[in-house]
Symmetry: C4
Subunit: 126 residues, 4 copies
């Protein structure tokens, strides 16, 4: 399977970011409130991605570094970013992704603070 | 009814993909958890589309082949893709669509794992 | 208030379309299941928009004609389109908007088939 | 942390706007029904943004003026816009953002009129 031209862009931004504080399904990680950036690397080489997190009232955090392997997708939970620091819950943030290869980024949130799940998703800005 | 110039692009990507495992309304297919790619072909000729599915930890699946007839829309459920292989449930994936004519692709999910439905939709990346 | 350059595009497509059949709040039109195209005309002249509806298994319907007044927004419910024909409920469709002036189109659905509302929204393709 | 080239655009539009009238969680501002524009300014200088609100049946309101500090994100609730006038609830509107520096704008709504939250989000048009 070959991808003759790479699909995507090298820089993406998600202006909306918010990890809800806990949820009603905290015993099941699939239902835990979370915020995800889905990164698709359709290239035949690994993509090295640097993430910067912007806040309302402090300097940005980062850079966070993730690798998306060749011909793979990475559904990255912001909850899991820990180095150089965790992203606080119940806090507004934005994120910028810079990659050395074209990738595609989509933003999804599952909010399980209530018994009824709430979902949102949107393509990031590129 | 004529469309003087075709609307759309020939390649699209949906970075976020996930088919929830079952649901609370499994007896009614309209409420069954599903993930859909809506493909619009506003051309006066059939569009031939090849779909590749990317995963986290294995090589891509596909190519899947679908035809969108001239002046028609196809609301494709990923659940229904079976050749060359089914897409596993409860697994993260991404998808890339390549068409021989310009089309428009939109991504929608209905999550019925809870009594309250959750919906998301976003235009794909092109 | 002046808008030196018009914002938007002249052609838009919404690949995903579906009007749910009825709802649990049918006595209150704000909670009735509906699908909306929001059209913004930031120009200083009226915009004349032609809408074509595409289906899975029949020729397209339309043209439907709406006018968005200068410096106004129109939140158009697909339920309200009646000339040349109504759009059937519980049926997949796509829509294409062609305007004589640049406009901005966004797609939103309220699904009230369950007690808990489900909402989706996405910018249309242009 | 430096951003060699600014990410974003200088003009954005959100065609869909609607602040639901009250909610079931009005005692907790996190759950109050609201509509948000998230503005990311990844530049090293403050961005000055002018917002115009368009309605169905009256002249536009504004200009509203907000500043997004350098390397900061602003999650702006339309409920909070008061000068030159408040935005009425239960009324359809659209918004246009004009900035002196490139920014990224995303649109999110939390609808808490029912016990189950409903969420939507989409990148704005640029």
């Amino acid at each position: 399977m070959t991808t003759p031209e790479p699909i995507g862009r090298r820089r993406w931004a998600i202006a909306e970011g918010y990890i809800p504080p806990g949820g009603t399904h905290a015993d099941d990680p699939r239902f835990e409130s979370h915020e995800t950036a889905c990164l698709l690397n359709a290239n035949d080489r690994d993509a090295h991605v640097t993430i910067t997190i912007y806040f309302k009232d402090r300097e940005p955090a980062g850079p966070y570094r993730v690798t998306v392997a060749a011909r793979r997708t990475l559904h990255l939970r912001f909850n899991d970013l820990e180095d150089p620091e965790s992203i606080p819950h119940d806090t507004d943030y934005s994120s910028v992704f810079e990659s050395d290869l074209p990738i595609v980024v989509q933003h999804t949130r599952l909010d399980s603070r209530q018994a009824a799940l709430a979902l949102l998703s949107t393509i990031a800005y590129s």
